[in-house]
Symmetry: C2
Subunit: 292 residues, 2 copies
Amino acid sequence: MAKIINGKEIAQKVRADVTKKVEKMIAQGITPGLAVIIVGEDPASQIYVRNKERAAAKAGINGQTIQFPTDVSEVVVFNKIQELNQDDSIDAILLQSPVPSQIDEEKMQSAIDPNKDVDGFNPLNIGKLFANRAGYYPVANTPKGIMTLLAETQVELQGKFVVILGRSILVGRPLFALLEAENATVALLHRYTSDELRHRLLQQADVVIAATGVPGLVRGIDLKAGSVVIDVGITRLPDGHLTGDVDFLAAQDTVAAITPVPGGVGPMTIATLLQTTVELAAKHHQMELQEL
Amino acid sequence: MAKIINGKEIAQKVRADVTKKVEKMIAQGITPGLAVIIVGEDPASQIYVRNKERAAAKAGINGQTIQFPTDVSEVVVFNKIQELNQDDSIDAILLQSPVPSQIDEEKMQSAIDPNKDVDGFNPLNIGKLFANRAGYYPVANTPKGIMTLLAETQVELQGKFVVILGRSILVGRPLFALLEAENATVALLHRYTSDELRHRLLQQADVVIAATGVPGLVRGIDLKAGSVVIDVGITRLPDGHLTGDVDFLAAQDTVAAITPVPGGVGPMTIATLLQTTVELAAKHHQMELQEL
């Protein structure tokens, strides 16, 4: 029977560490500041932003939410980003996705100061990641959180074969770079990968990371005995239940460890966002993170 | 018997197209300008830069080489880059690698204006490539030239499985992104990939791209019948002969098409550099490349 990777517990641990660091920063006169820009009334985004705000407050981070109406013009959002870039009390800026069509999301991501780019979506930071540059730069929080899950579960990556399903710039692509940096051999699969090739590669994988949003895409028979499975997918079924990309019940009998949905990757994203906020604040104020 | 992919011929075709475009640009009063900075006396670099200069001149491009002594300070190189960034007659800037240790090569690459970054090494351009952003941006010329070889050889990529050996930012990593953009499924292998895993993945690959500099790393028995092999490796043997990463004679009997060494990928790099120079010049002067 597989070990269930407890994302809630690991996220709790990350948050506790963040809270401790924030306390020390505040004692030195610095309160980390996170600004979240949200445009429009998308209910899922509203809930998500509210959760971020609450989690930031709980960790002692000064979170502020900037709400714009659905029909706000691009230049207003752009100017707000410029203002936050200049604002010394703000260490981290995030533009909640999705944005209405009059706003060019990539252009806004590029406008965020790379040193305050808490989501790691500025192409300059993406480029540093892909080039495996030395030094600190922010990385997208879901893949970064997955690396924490793997590290906390003591999954050996060097020399292992990892299959990633789904190549979004939010998850699959940055994960590819992060796993290569750990000297795993990585294959990146997507909608043009045939069923046959996907099955064949999955059967050889030591670690599988599924981030497609297609429930049941990974079946029990696709998986190798003793492998580790990280399920990033989260889909609400007609009956109201949440499910991932992996047939959890079937996989459980085969693999060594697996994340549940919900309670696996999900809790890591906000915890990692807080972690990145603190890292950016430490860098901004030239504090040594290790000493916090 | 495999088709031999004639890199010389395809590079000739690229150069002829570049020359034609340059003629049209000159007729409109624009001469594309390429500046190559070289530091020190490394003989291989000197030859390579001289070849670039000659090829640029032949295509009608205004090439200039800036030679610095080995002990030049970083700030002098940095200031020269700034000057070239400002120089309206220069469309493309290249810093010849390697540079002496007192110069931070990555810092210099980041200093080159992304719009004049003919090698595609500025992390902003790397980030756009990795994020598969729309629009034009320069891409490293060796991988870009390999994509031209594959296109000219009419190799189908969508849905195919491609194995890349070697993950440098010069070749393997950008190729990964370019092949994913063509909807291939790609695995990126490296020195930490075990012999067993490498053999197994190679045997499944529809396209193999070897860029390791390890002669004979890819054996005939590693390859699948009917696959396409691109050999980027180039090593001089003790007897003076040049060889690639692939056992060419053995591979020839198995695969559908293969590049020779020399005369395969080699000639594509400079031809593609000229191509990118013209693209940057067209963008700089707001000319439509299709109309040239």
